[in-house]
Structure formats: structure tokens, C-alpha cells
Symmetry: C2
């Protein structure tokens, strides 16, 4: 059976009108389906208001105790529950989840060396509770994950939303034919970032090597496509990169 896992990031979360349109579009997708959302700017803004310094090392947020409380509030509370309430209003039977809920996403707290990122977790992909997720899906319930996991020792952990989407997709691929959709601010992977007509329709391992060699796939896109191929190697059928506004259209770059 087919299952769609959709990941949205801050560009949708931070704009109420985009989120509202996305919610409608997502509700139209055939079930079973799963949504994973990132955090957007709200956590950083709340940290600022509360006088909590945001420390970034190599582009990643350090999650100390206070910051963990903020992301638990913002990702697990404010954003997740507002998305769920909005989905409910368009007859999509959403349930909001962190990885702690029903123990679905156990994670390992990242080692404090060489860099101590604090309460940050890497998902134990072989221990994802796919049967629990299946139970929800079969009951017509739509799981909505934020990027929080847990250490099984009593603490929530902060995780990367792309990694959550990928881990959920991989784990569910044992039970379903999974399509993983990453919504970006671009129509897809572009041949020429300045030319909106230059979207690449399909990328496979061979063409990816060539695109990298030619320097067409740029720096920021490389980890995303690497992750996509990693998910495919682990059982996901295909990964699609597209703009959130094209969710219900058959466009975007297909990676397979």
C-alpha cells in the first residue's frame, strides 16, 4: 500500500496564509499520509524575548536545558497543536506527536565530543515504532510529527526535521510503499537557480554524480539529495522535492 510522508519547513510554518493553504492542500492528499513539520523562527524569537542566547556551532543550534524547554513548547505545543487544530477543521483527522509519544521515535543523545550540542538526538532508526504508526494510519488518523524525539531516560531531545521525516519514511517502508515529499521554497532542484523554467524532473544516482561534477547541484542542496538517496537505499520508493504550493500538483524533482 502507498503512503505519503510530507515534510514542511519554516517557510510554511512562519506564514499563516501559506500554512492555511498548505493545510487545505494536505487534507486533499489521499490517505494514508504523515506530516512532519520543522520549527521556523518562532523558537528563536521566543528565546530572544526570554533572554536565552541562541548559540550556533557550524550552523546548528546548541540545545541547552532552557532552549530545550523553548523548543518543546514551540515545536511540540504551539506549532504542532495549531497545525493539528487547523487540519481537524478541514476534516483531516490529525494527531500531533513528538517522538516521545507512544515511544515512536527513540533517539540517542549526541555524544558531547568533539562538539557538545546539548539535548540533541539522533533517531535510532531500527527502533522506530512503525507498528504504532500503522495502527493510527489504519484507523484513519493522520500523524503530524514535530522534530522532537526522546532518550527513553525521561528527556525529550531536539532533532532535525529532515531527519525525522527521513527516519519515519524509512521505518514505514517496511510496511508501505513510501513516497517522501520535501517541500522547499523552490519548484524542485534547479539547473539554473535564476531560471524558474530549469527544474530537473528526475535525478538518479548516475545523473546525480554528473550534476555534482558539473557544479549544478549547489552546496545547500547536496545534503538534501544525499539524504534522499540514503532514504531510497533504506527502502523508500522515491523522494520528491517541490514547492509547498505545488503539493497537490504532479510537479517537482523526483529522486529515485
Amino acid at each position: 500500500m502507498a503512503l505519503t510522508v510530507v515534510k514542511i519547513g519554516g517557510n510554511v510554518i512562519d506564514h499563516p496564509s501559506m500554512l492555511s493553504q498548505f493545510v487545505k492542500d494536505f487534507s486533499q492528499l489521499p490517505s494514508p499520509k504523515i506530516l512532519v513539520h520543522g520549527g521556523g523562527k518562532i523558537a528563536t524569537e521566543l528565546c530572544k524575548k526570554l533572554g536565552i542566547e541562541t548559540q550556533m556551532i557550524e550552523g546548528r543550534r546548541v540545545t541547552d536545558r532552557e532552549t530545550l524547554d523553548v523548543v518543546t513548547m514551540v515545536y511540540g505545543g504551539l506549532i504542532n497543536k495549531n497545525v493539528v487544530a487547523q487540519l481537524q477543521s478541514v476534516q483531516c483527522n490529525a494527531i500531533g506527536l513528538t517522538g516521545a509519544d507512544a515511544g515512536i521515535l527513540p533517539a540517542m543523545r549526541r555524544a558531547p565530543r568533539p562538539i557538545d550540542y546539548g539535548y540533541v538526538g539522533d533517531i535510532k532508526i531500527d527502533e522506530v515504532r512503525s507498528e504504532t504508526v500503522k495502527l493510527f494510519l489504519e484507523a484513519g488518523i493522520v500523524p503530524v510529527f514535530c522534530a522532537l524525539t526522546h532518550d527513553e531516560q525521561g528527556s525529550v531531545l531536539n532533532s532535525n526535521a529532515d531527519s525525522v521525516a527521513s527516519a519515519v519514511a524509512v521505518a514505514m517502508s517496511k510496511l508501505y510503499e513510501v513516497e517522501l515529499v520535501y517541500c522547499l521554497e523552490l519548484p524542485g532542484v534547479m539547473q539554473d537557480i535564476d531560471n524558474p523554467e530549469s527544474m530537473i524532473e528526475e535525478i538518479d544516482q548516475a545523473s546525480y554524480v554528473r550534476l555534482k561534477d558539473e557544479g549544478i547541484v549547489n552546496k545547500g542542496m547536496i545534503p538534501k539529495i544525499d539524504n534522499a538517496f540514503s532514504a531510497i537505499r533504506q527502502g523508500v520508493s522515491r523522494v520528491i522535492i517541490k514547492h509547498a504550493k505545488n503539493l497537490t500538483n504532479n510537479t517537482g524533482t523526483t529522486i529515485k
Copy 2:
């Protein structure tokens, strides 16, 4: 089949050591079981830090838009997910829920007259999705509700935690023999508040009338016992009022 619904309030939530002990005790209770938690002082403190004025009318918090965001963060995020993560660490397969999740607790926003309490919801008790809760319980999952509901129009609403516990207990009483446990800071209903030996073991309708006439049941306890009898009239088998530290002991005041 028997089902236990336990409600805890701020006195447990606000004290990490009490919460930690409660979590262990709760995990020892036989399943199926449900936990409902109140909010404690954290939301008020966060409002203060953020410069949001807490407006109280007749002892009830007015929930404007900003306050709703704070309670969604604190109740639905911080408290709920920390309780869930702690329960998971003691092998209790908890899932954190607001009433928006899986649409379990639909509510009616309270009319703005005579007093506008803002985003406050009264649960539509006949529309509680008891079959969804049953699905979780039968899968060995332990629902942990915070006191948030939703209006089915896209908004989360703030509700009273006692009312959430009572509504869940009543709704589930169609499917289970339900015992509803209210944890207070007292061993039970006291004959003499200054005498810890004076706990009343059992109250029925007849003795309640007498206790009120004699002025033994005091002001703050009256609405709690009224609610207890209301739950019993609607199908709950019995209501027990006890101290959280006595959760696993067979003590407290039984109302039936």
C-alpha cells in the same frame, strides 16, 4: 472492563520531585488507565516574563489570543511532553494529547456574554471520541491529556482540567467501568481540616446533603463533589479524592 482516570493538578506538576514519584506510582497502576494533568504555575510565570497581563474574572483566567498561545505551549508542549517522556522512561507507553489530537475532545467556545473569557471551551460531552481512546487503550497506550480542547474550526481552546477529566471519564463509561481519581493536596474530604485523622471514607448523596447542611464540606470542596456526583449520574462508577502520594494506596474519600 475497569478503567482508571487519574487527574493531577499544579501541586504535582510544579514540584519535580513529586512529579517524578507520581510518574513511578502511576506507572504501577494496572492498565487500562488515563492521565489528565492541570497546568500549575508555569503558564502564569511565562505570561509574566513575556509581559502578558493575566486577567482573572471571578477566579477564572481570561484567555486572550496571546494567553492561548502561552497555554498551548506550556500545557500542550512543555508539561505534557515532559510527563510523557518521564512515563516512557518507566515503561509506561504514554501518548500526550490535547483535545484537538485525533479530534478527541470537541468543545464549544464559551459565549462572550455575560463575561468574555476568550478562547475557553466547554467540552461537547456527547461528541467525545471514546472509540479512538479505546483504540489506544487496547493497544496498551496510555493517553495523557492536558486541559486543551478544540473548536473544530481550527482553534485550540483552554478548558478546565477537572472538566476534561470528568468528560473523559463520563465518555469512557459507555465502554468501561470507570473509576475517576482526583489527586488533591489533602488525603481526602476532611471532617476537620486541621485533623489529618478526620478523613471521610465514603460520601453518598444522602450523607453529602448532611455534610453540606452541617457546614463540614467547605466552599472549595463543594464544586469538586458536585462535579463528582454529576460524573456518577452520567455513568462513572465511583470518584475517589485522595492525595497524589497515596495513588497506589487504597485510601481516600470514595464518592458514589
